[in-house]
Symmetry: C2
Subunit: 803 residues, 2 copies
């Protein structure tokens, strides 16, 4: 499957707009125009119902349905149960009738359709003119928001304008628990309690297996007096409004929706109902205008601190903003029991679960844009530590074995190769802890939560490893690295190195605590029953870890025997066999030197400060031609590493898909939901790649390069809660300015600088400006990446539809 | 789980007898007293019904039910469907009532219970005295046989003797399709047609998914006139006999049963019914006595040619005979569409499917005892060649990829690690072809079928392999060898060497055909569209195959990286963790140097003539301590190889479980069915092990050793259809005699001899007689293998319950 830009949206710096209805891209738009506020999310489906292609979706973070996996053959240790983020109450439920004709864009006659999302307000707006069968025309506008100010609040405004008639239109406004979870074709909700009046409605539903409850309610406000009746049908409850319209007069119906979710089964239904109702009551005076004001002010203040700017390239400008917009909607530090799903809150695919890549791919964005969110992300891993400990016991191991994928901390991965062999997950958690503390200096978190996790992770790696009988080195047998095309290998370099780091981080932190906070250390030791012998054991294992570095070539062997694997030339694989993960028999994925995504190169990215350019060059030259990029996370890392070596053209080529992966539906699967993790990769691509930032050293360092088609770009880095480093690159210079008091030491092009609010300005070396004259990629690529694109030397034309 | 002898059966050379009913071993006895004749099999359940612990079973070879596998997550190439040998009509269905009390040994009062199987007749007999609630006593004897003379024929005789009364006993004699397939708790049969009269009954059933049909019928014969009525209830049909009994007079009811099975769905029900009925009619004059005469004469002539004798050890004498008895009941060359299931026709477990071990473990027994059966076994692989070709296409490969497990040729293995990675199966088929032709000289088979298979297998291996980038050698990546504790490895030595052999056999045969039968070769080439380039390709790949021989140590590395795997000392594993295949988390099986069964040692056994004693010694010394024997096929190979090196004590210790594995229920799972494949291993253990036979060289060679507790032993080897080599070993000599005309050249203790009907007698060297004075193993072992047994240096005390 070629990576092809499917352009149908307007280019504008702040607004994503669809002009005219693209029926065939209906579900893609449902993802693009999805909204979320961490607490909840809704797909951009038509609230009035649509009998065409649609995947309606309404999600509440952490609210899932659960069950037992059914295995054809189950071996000991396989994960028992599954959870999925359930499709919940459709709290935007609306039906509109005019002279008994139901508004359904798949069936009625309409014109002047447009919809847009404004990233400055987070409002999705959709409007069209309905020419009814009875000859009446009516202009309708739907607007919706999920409040960033009060996260249980959602607001919908429907504006109606009769064009050529006076008469009544009927509008049903309801709350529908009769929704379908599409991936399993199930209807998981039962209705516990409900009520409706002319001014409000409320409904309480419960999932059948997990017993999670969601309360949904609404205030109804209309611009004029209306006749109202209530309805209740199965799991749907609400009110019908008969509204009189006059020509050229806009009438509005506003739904102030208050939602509430509850996982605690100890609370009575009445208690949950009351808690929800209090939230509705609190919004009694809320209006569309008041909510809009809050929303606008929220985004204005946020953008001031997180915006990225691209000069001379509105497509990428729009694209990068779109990524940040959704990253902040998905997760913003509301609740440390939340995490980030691969599709955020925009679709059912990937079951709303959190993967190991939260720390490696998403955490940096939050660390440098929203510290509260970053802290919550690492705190989530402390909340879920008991599940990771339990999982380790199930696998006869010590410490904490963090799950491959999870919602509430329990491993739900039913594919044992991933769930049981990808032991690098625990190290990613330790990495997240280390990185968070390294950047924020939050020693309190370290003492309260972080050190315990580091100890438990080190214990896990101490118990899971073995000593090579030939090499005498410590390592891991029967594992899978991040490259999921080599399912069961021994001594995966990434796993070994991350395990070594995990030992070192634990030892370093314990050593530091012994000096700086001996009482805290005593408490931690008591809690974890830590023995001195464990420390020397970890030290020995770290020191003797097999890093898989081949001294003669300077290349890290991805795993034992990788260098001897039969070679398959990516270019010899016929086009129709891509993505190979779907087109090839499963076992064929594992018997060549073709890899899915960065594995050795991933630790070159994560610990960039530790490796010389020469070492990077050798390893990049070896692994890059072997990479199929059948993970959407792959190109960004290649782009960043290419940029570090001054390979501008490649860096730009790899980056081309990052910012607009979903806007242009490159992978043909945006309909399933937005690629939220990949969006975090896009931000890294810009900041770590073109910005040349490294964050694993003692100070932040930058080594920016300017792509040929850009006149300049800029981004911001939160260095303290109240200090933001603003970075701007143009064709001549790189400038840094600290928004806040004090100063920050940084390295730019390997020179040390101190930056204050006065800023500094440094010339951009010619070598750091791509002068190969690449044109805007979409103009050449929009019609589809042709086989000849392969001469780029990149494999990207055939990226998979994964993640 | 320790390997413990559970002795409850009487020791006798020809008869296995249970005296007194052992309720707790009821299902073990159902397996022990199972009968079969290749066409059909029945477990030794009580035909009169039993409300205690029972697993009734009636099987017809090749008759299965089918369905689709349900995978939690399915990847491309996973096997789609399953088949299982279905539990079929209970054609021995009987119910006996006396004064309205139903005969049910779980409920009634009875005494003098005994049952036995006589291996000279193949008759199972069971008798007891029933003391009824009404104070009447009646002696009952059930006898049954599955005719070896006419395989669709089964005969049951019930003898009734009133002891203290005159009166009527009621006996239901029926055919019951309402049976349960226990492993799925399903009732797979529907009744299509039935009839019953006072003299006969007939019934036709069909499986619901596969549409296979079984016809079952009976003639009823009684020793005196009786009153008869018929019954039909759901899927049960038959007749009720009211029989008048007088004291001390034995009356009999004889059921002459004729069964018929049909897989061809094109035939109408009427056609199948008629075919079955003709079989019943043909048995009109059959009586218990006439059937018994045929049965006795069959077994007499068979034992004359296949018997083994053990002098001074009745336990092993009985054990080895029991193995041969069941091997010949399971398979005897009736139908080339049949093969051998792991449990034969004695239980549902392992689904009645055929595994890759038919050729490596079972074929030798048939090759040297029943050539027709051996030919059918290899012909079966030609019948199923289309399925193997289809499977190769599904996996994007060339040639024939024979299934891991199958009934009719389609791969049904739902565990992809085995089904997709154990590519050594195809080589085992090629090995079978080669071995069959090598021993029999059946060139006609080679031309008609064998060559085509060899070509298709070579093609498979040519397409599945790869060239190591480091070694420049050809091999296989992403495979599993016979040692199923290393799930996904590269360059498994066994697989590579067998693939190399597969290339060589194909090339050798094609070369031979070009000289000896050029027209036949042309036909084969035309049929297989063989290209000359393929031959040079195979030659190159065979010549450059990575055999994994480590030149410096002389040890074959089981797979790439095996020598570096962390060591786990078998003796360090706590007792309660055995069998590790069930007790350990799945992934822990793969990360140590612990192996399940012979892998490198298996090709040392298969191609024993090619390796020096020195080479064997090095490899046995390396792999033996690493073997957990968690396959019942493992000890026999270790015994044979130990015997070759004159390690008498070890050879005997390993062999101790072979002959009586089921009789003494060593693995605690004989209740599931008999270990038929393991029984073939027991025969090999005796003949290849203590007999020291090698069959892969140009002539048969022998190097016998005598275990300490035996006074002598003997066995027979069919060297031609009409010539049997009789081998006898006693404490002083080894003698060979050809039963038949002509002569045969053999090697004995590396000296060449020519053997005729006059026989030869050679002194047994002292070194070939175990003088360590080991006592009969059961006497020391019956109470359970204690941890101290480990000082034997064998791991056998903890063999798994697998196969």
């Amino acid at each position: 499957m070629a990576k092809t830009a499917h352009r149908y949206l307007e280019i504008a710096p702040w607004v994503v707009e669809e002009r005219g209805f693209n029926e065939e891209r209906s579900e893609v738009s449902e993802s693009i125009f999805a909204l979320a506020n961490e607490f909840m999310g809704v797909r951009g489906s038509f609230e009035e119902g649509y009998s065409g292609q649609t995947t309606q979706g309404s999600f509440f973070n952490g609210i899932y349905e659960s069950g037992e996996h059914i295995y054809s053959t189950k071996f000991k240790g396989f994960a028992d149960g599954w959870t999925y983020m359930v499709n919940s109450v459709d709290w935007l439920y609306t039906r509109i009738r005019l002279d008994d004709e139901l508004l359904d864009l798949a069936k009625i006659s309409f014109r002047d359709f447009s919809r847009k999302v404004d990233m400055r307000t987070g409002i999705v707006e959709r409007s069209f003119v309905w020419d009814s069968a009875s000859g009446k025309s009516i202009r309708i506008k739907f607007e919706r928001m999920l409040s960033m100010h009060t996260s249980h609040l959602g607001v919908q405004q429907i504006s109606l304008e009769a064009i050529n008639f006076t008469g009544v239109v009927e509008i049903d406004v309801g709350l529908d628990f009769g929704v379908t979870y599409n991936l399993r074709q199930s209807q998981p909700w039962s209705l516990l309690k409900h009520e409706a009046s002319s001014t409000h409605a409320a409904s309480l539903g419960r999932t059948s297996s997990s017993g999670h409850r969601v309360f949904s309610s609404l205030h109804l406000k209309t611009s004029r007096d209306v006749e109202t009746s209530t309805f209740h049908l199965d799991r749907l409850v609400g009110a019908t409004v008969k509204m009189e319209l006059e020509p050229n007069k806009v009438e509005t119906i506003t739904r102030i929706a208050a939602n509430h979710s509850e996982k605690d089964s100890d609370l009575s239904d009445d208690t949950v109902w009351t808690s929800g109702f209090l939230k509705l009551k609190a919004e009694k005076n809320t209006t569309w205008e008041s909510a809009l004001k809050n929303q606008r002010s929220y985004w204005e203040s946020v953008w001031k601190q997180v915006d990225v700017t691209i000069e001379g390239d509105d497509e990428n400008q729009q694209g990068f903003r779109f990524c940040i917009f959704h990253l902040l909607q998905t997760y913003r530090g509301e609740d440390p029991r939340h995490n980030i799903g691969a599709k955020g809150l925009t679709g059912e695919h990937y079951w709303g679960v959190t993967w190991w890549d939260t720390e490696t791919y998403c955490l940096p964005f939050y660390l440098f844009n929203n510290r509260r969110a970053a802290k919550n992300l690492v705190t989530y891993r402390h909340h879920t530590l008991p599940g990771a400990q339990k999982r380790a016991r199930e696998l006869h191991l010590e410490g904490a074995r963090y799950p491959m994928c999870t919602i509430d901390g329990d491993e739900i991965c039913d594919v044992w190769q991933h769930g049981d062999l990808e032991i690098h997950v625990s190290a990613a958690i330790a990495y997240g802890i280390w990185k968070y503390v390294h950047i924020t200096g939050d020693k309190e978190f370290l003492r309260d939560h972080g050190a315990e996790i580091l100890i438990e992770v080190a214990r896990f790696y101490a118990s899971r490893g073995g000593w090579g009988q030939r090499t005498g080195k410590f390592g891991y047998w029967g594992v899978m690295g991040p490259d999921e095309m080599h399912t069961m290998v021994n001594n995966n370099a990434y796993t070994n190195i991350l395990a070594k780091k995990s030992f070192e981080w634990a030892l370093e932190v314990l050593d530091e605590l012994s000096k700086e906070a001996p009482e805290a250390l005593s408490a931690i030791k008591a809690k974890t029953k830590l023995q001195e012998a464990e420390l020397s054991d970890w030290k020995k294992k770290a020191e003797n870890m097999d890093t898989m570095l081949d001294e003669s070539s300077g290349i890290f062997e991805q795993h034992e025997g990788f260098f001897n694997m039969p070679h398959i030339d990516y270019l010899d694989i016929p086009d129709d066999q891509f993505p190979v993960q779907k087109k090839w028999p499963y076992v064929d994925l594992f018997r060549f030197d073709l890899i899915k995504q960065p594995d050795v190169l991933l630790f070159f990215f994560l610990f960039g400060s530790e490796y010389s350019e020469e070492a990077l060059e050798k390893n990049l030259d070896y692994y890059e031609p072997r990479c199929s990029h059948e993970s959407s996370l792959s190109p960004a890392i290649h782009s960043i590493l290419s940029a570090r070596l001054g390979r501008h053209k490649k860096a730009y080529e790899y980056a081309r898909y990052s910012s607009r992966l979903d806007l242009d539906d490159y992978n043909n699967n945006t309909c399933e939901g937005l690629h939220v993790t990949s969006m975090a990769g896009a931000w890294m691509n810009l900041v770590y790649g073109f910005g040349g930032m490294k964050t694993d050293g003692d100070i932040l360092s930058f080594c920016p390069t300017l792509p040929a088609s850009w006149n300049g770009f800029g981004f911001k880095i939160h260095v303290e809660d109240d200090a933001v480093l603003s970075v701007k690159i143009n064709t001549e210079t790189v400038s840094f300015k600290l928004e806040g008091t004090g100063f920050i030491k940084i390295s730019v092009f390997s020179e040390l600088y101190s930056v204050t609010s006065d800023g500094i300005c440094i010339p951009l070396p010619n070598t750091h400006r791509d002068q190969t004259g690449i044109q805007n990629p979409v103009e050449e690529g929009a019609s589809g990446a042709k086989p000849k694109d392969r001469t780029d030397g990149l494999n990207l034309a055939r990226q998979a539809t994964y993640t």
